[in-house]
Subunit: 581 residues, 2 copies
């Protein structure tokens, strides 16, 4: 496995071995590669859209090995949205194919003179013109690219939003059916890619096979055992297979933790119109199946992705997640699930994050430019983002910028990134995660789905443990959904059998800690101070109905977050008491 | 002397003694009060426009005493532009009158239900409606207020830009003739004031007299001696009296340090059309005098302010400074001094900083929305800021936001604030000041007007010394122009005679150091990291013609800026070798 270094200015590709200073560095993959490269090789002060700012796509260490649900890819660099380090994670087929090709990461620097497609295959890399796909909706562009390069390629693509260098632009990855619906959505990674004039990476793994483990028999046995554990013990596997992430909507609504009406409420009076039951009921009526249980990537055991069909039975959108239903739905007071699905498809085509988009539109409600429930207006605003009008540019640059333009002081962001699903005022451990993650507010950085959510006590330790684990998992390519809570039994045997090592769980957690510290050190040098580890002050004063809770985890405790000595050593999984189980 | 605490929510005013923990705290005035209040009493994480974010107006400790050129007022709080602590400094009559009233600072918190005028006089404070002046140009508003409250009041006012909460909005202070031309211009202090719905503070010092010193005879003698020294030894006094700050234009142009064509050049081919000679020549032809040598505040010995007249002899603008001629002139490629004067007047009326405005408009040249030299277009864009169109809102929120909206990575800001006059690539000590000042890039934070400008050697120490001195001076209300380089002889005797103390110069410099450390500590807690102490990376790579110099002061040295042990102890004034002398 090695790095593929791409210089867009010279259209050159070179392979470089992955350096390993200590034995544990063999676990460096995915997000860990981004962390390592950005802290070792890049000036933290570089502008995210400048020529020298790298765009990195890195599968995890278990990509293409046959490990279950190991198809996640880390996309990152320096975030145009937060100004800090960024890893955004997606499913799809790219990680799997890159793994089979023996590529640990593609690191793209420089800037091409024309929009370019980078073709990567077993014979190396090639640079080809992208002129015919520039400006196209991601779905159209990917259809064209698959026509040209074959149906079996994996595609990593930046959309029209990334071309326009919006700080809220995604990188899309095609799923097994070639749909660009799996998004590395947060932090504006699409603009980092766009700034290189790299329109798409097309990955062809023809003539390759699954990577072989160091001890193949032990690996297969570990894989088999992992799959069994996931099916029998993973608390979420069944639920998210059956109802996808949309299942969370009722849970959060019940907890008073559903971002609603521009973060003014924690529950939505019309939640029943946009929840999983409604989703499945409509699908069943329209196409005869729930639309659930779809795979986002090869070898996924959980299959939490979904498909949503319109009134005439046409596919409207895929990977229609809980976060989208929250931010384009309840947060905007919109309960028309068909309208939300259309917007999701539009956002996927354009390459913008639905969380940041819904959050930014929500801000307009404070200045009379948006009325809750007005789906038509929301769709029109997304159309403005697509067209690149000045309002579109403002919204396309995210929540914080939109708030600044309109002089709003009630800004729901941390480190410039919109606070995502699961309200931190009602679920205080999540609040700590939003406050402290070097990635900015992000629900995937370290879920805290256990304990007494409303109590401020002990939440920093819970979030710390969760972030350490989830960060380490982001090095493997394994999906958080199954592994965040049952990892000890199944992750280490697979890693060790594959690498031929005998790393302990402590080694693995050590990697997670090192990654977090690298990310934070990058941020400090990039100009993000320790004081940025906080929820917005107003969340400490404005009660969130219906629980009327404020965020009251003491800031002094939060300020100790990166003191890893204070960790509890991880959640006791025998005592899991989760509303999600 | 005491603090006047204003709660706009309750329309209450209370007086509070100034706490003093140590003897040296008696020197706490002006900027030092802002530093003290913000670090002791305010959460650094508060949103600058939120109800709890204070607006502070503080004259220096020598205000209203009869000390020469002591009429500066510090305006500040938390900056909507930088997100850090902010002090912006202005002349005018407010400091003098507040001093005579015995008010060390007005600290305004809360938010009024309606726009309000705060009247301050010897009988205390009163809250009165501002409805008839809201939305008016500052000149019109001040004319109305003087009609109502008398010609002799001093006025502190936020303009239409501050009402709109633009991050680039100023607070204007009236001069001796009642013109709102003296601006606390930087960092969006007008929006902090606007967020309180405080339109204006009207200060009436009728029935008061000059403050008496502890040892009045010694004070008068120190004042007399100071005036003599300023007149005979102050290197700038004569020059700026004769030519105002506009004199710098030729100097910087010659040094290759004049911000020109959106920071693409360090000299302007048409500088002769906008320099001091041209300024004076036009004035002489139009009204028979140079327009120079005007006082910005009572008791000024230097009188570096100016008046500029139009073709028919009408006064177009006052306090038409070098920075304005740079940023609305050379930086936009505009050499029509009459157009620049009109824009200056418009900016003064609207309450926006000409530096940030010209810098933001310059950014549009990168995306084809502005052509260098197009004065009509620049005037139209300022009109958009006035009207609050979306483009106006974008520009009104400054250079960095404008760049982000348009995906520009060549951003000439530090800590979100446009890099001001005196290019840091050609004058590297100034570059260090821009990089390190907790106030963001600001030419007043610590001028470095001596030494070998082009050499990177020793510049950190020079900037450090300069910032320590200039910061301490900002506590006194004394004007930088005269005191920054000749302070030891004249400042301490005045302070000591006035306070009845025997502070040493080291005590005074100690105050400057404490202020800087307080400001930086506030910033770190506010989320601005140590990495923000840097010029933009591109200034290290893009040579600035005609000197073709890049900024090459080692970042490692800059990172040591706040290690005050490394100070040289201040410039050796006997060895001053300044192009300005």
């Amino acid at each position: 496995m090695s790095l593929m270094r791409i210089d867009m200015s010279r259209t050159s590709a070179t392979m470089e071995p992955l350096p390993a200073k200590k034995p544990q560095d063999r676990m460096v993959g995915g997000r860990a590669i981004i962390d390592w490269f950005m802290t070792e090789r890049v000036s933290p002060r570089i502008h995210p859209l400048s020529v020298g700012s790298p765009f990195i796509a890195a599968p995890g260490i278990l990509a293409g090995t046959g490990a279950p649900s190991a198809g996640r890819i880390s996309i990152g660099g320096k975030s145009p949205l937060t100004g800090g380090i960024k890893e955004a994670n997606a499913g799809g087929t790219a990680a799997y194919r890159l793994g089979r090709l023996g590529i640990s990461a593609i690191v793209v620097e420089g800037k091409a003179s024309e929009w370019t497609v980078l073709r990567v295959g077993s014979k190396g890399a090639a640079f080809e013109p992208a002129s015919d796909v520039v400006g196209l909706d991601n779905y159209e562009a990917c259809a064209k690219l698959r026509e040209r390069y074959g149906e079996k390629v994996g595609i990593i693509i930046t959309g029209p939003a990334g071309e326009r260098l919006y700080a809220n632009s995604t990188v899309a990855v095609t799923d097994l059916e070639g749909r660009p619906c799996r998004h590395a959505a947060r932090g504006g990674v699409g603009a980092i890619m766009g700034a290189k004039r790299l329109k798409a990476i097309v990955i062809d793994d023809t003539d390759t096979s699954l990577r072989k483990a160091s001890d193949q028999a032990a690996f297969l046995s570990a894989v088999k055992s992992a799959i069994e554990t996931m099916k029998t013990e993973g608390p979420y596997c069944d639920i998210v297979h059956t109802k996808s992430t949309v299942w969370s909507l009722d849970i959060d609504n019940g907890q008073g933790a559903l971002q609603t009406y521009n973060y003014h409420r924690g529950s939505f009076d019309k939640a029943g119109n946009i929840n999983a039951d409604r989703f499945m009921e409509l699908n069943r009526a329209r196409v005869g199946s729930s639309g659930m249980g779809h795979s986002c990537s090869p070898g996924c055991v959980v299959q939490c992705s979904n498909l949503f069909y319109g009134p005439t039975g046409e596919l409207v959108t895929a990977a229609f997640e809980y976060e989208t239903l929250t931010f384009l739905g309840s947060n905007l007071g919109i309960d028309d699930i068909d309208a939300i699905a259309r917007m999701d498809r539009k956002c996927d085509g354009l390459g913008i994050d639905t969380i940041e988009t819904g959050s930014a539109i929500g801000i307009l409600s404070d200045v009379g430019l948006f009325e809750f429930g007005d789906a038509e207006r929301a769709e029109a605003l997304i159309e403005e983002i697509a067209k690149g009008t000045l309002m579109g540019r403002v919204l396309g640059n995210g929540t914080q910028l939109t708030a600044k333009v309109f002089g709003i002081d009630r800004v729901p962001t941390v480190k410039g990134q919109a606070i995502s699903a699961h309200s931190g005022r009602a679920l205080k451990g999540w609040g700590v995660t939003f406050a402290t993650s070097p990635q900015g507010a992000d629900h995937t950085a370290g879920p805290v789905a256990w304990g007494d959510f409303l109590s401020p006590v002990g939440q920093v330790a819970l979030s710390r443990d969760s972030q350490i684990i989830n960060t380490a998992i982001d090095a493997t390519g394994l999906c958080h959904f199954t592994f965040a809570f049952i990892y000890p039994q199944i992750i280490m045997p697979m890693i060790n059998a594959f690498l031929g090592t005998d790393f302990t769980l402590d080694d693995f957690l050590g990697l997670g800690k090192e990654m977090l510290l690298r990310e934070r050190s990058f941020n400090l040098k990039a100009g993000i101070g320790p004081g940025a580890d906080a929820l917005p002050e107003w969340m400490r004063f404005e009660p969130l109905p219906p629980k009327n809770s404020v965020f009251d985890v003491p800031q002094e405790e939060i300020d100790e977050f990166f003191n890893f000595e204070l960790s509890t050593g991880g959640p006791d999984i025998s005592k899991l008491d989760s509303p999600y189980s």
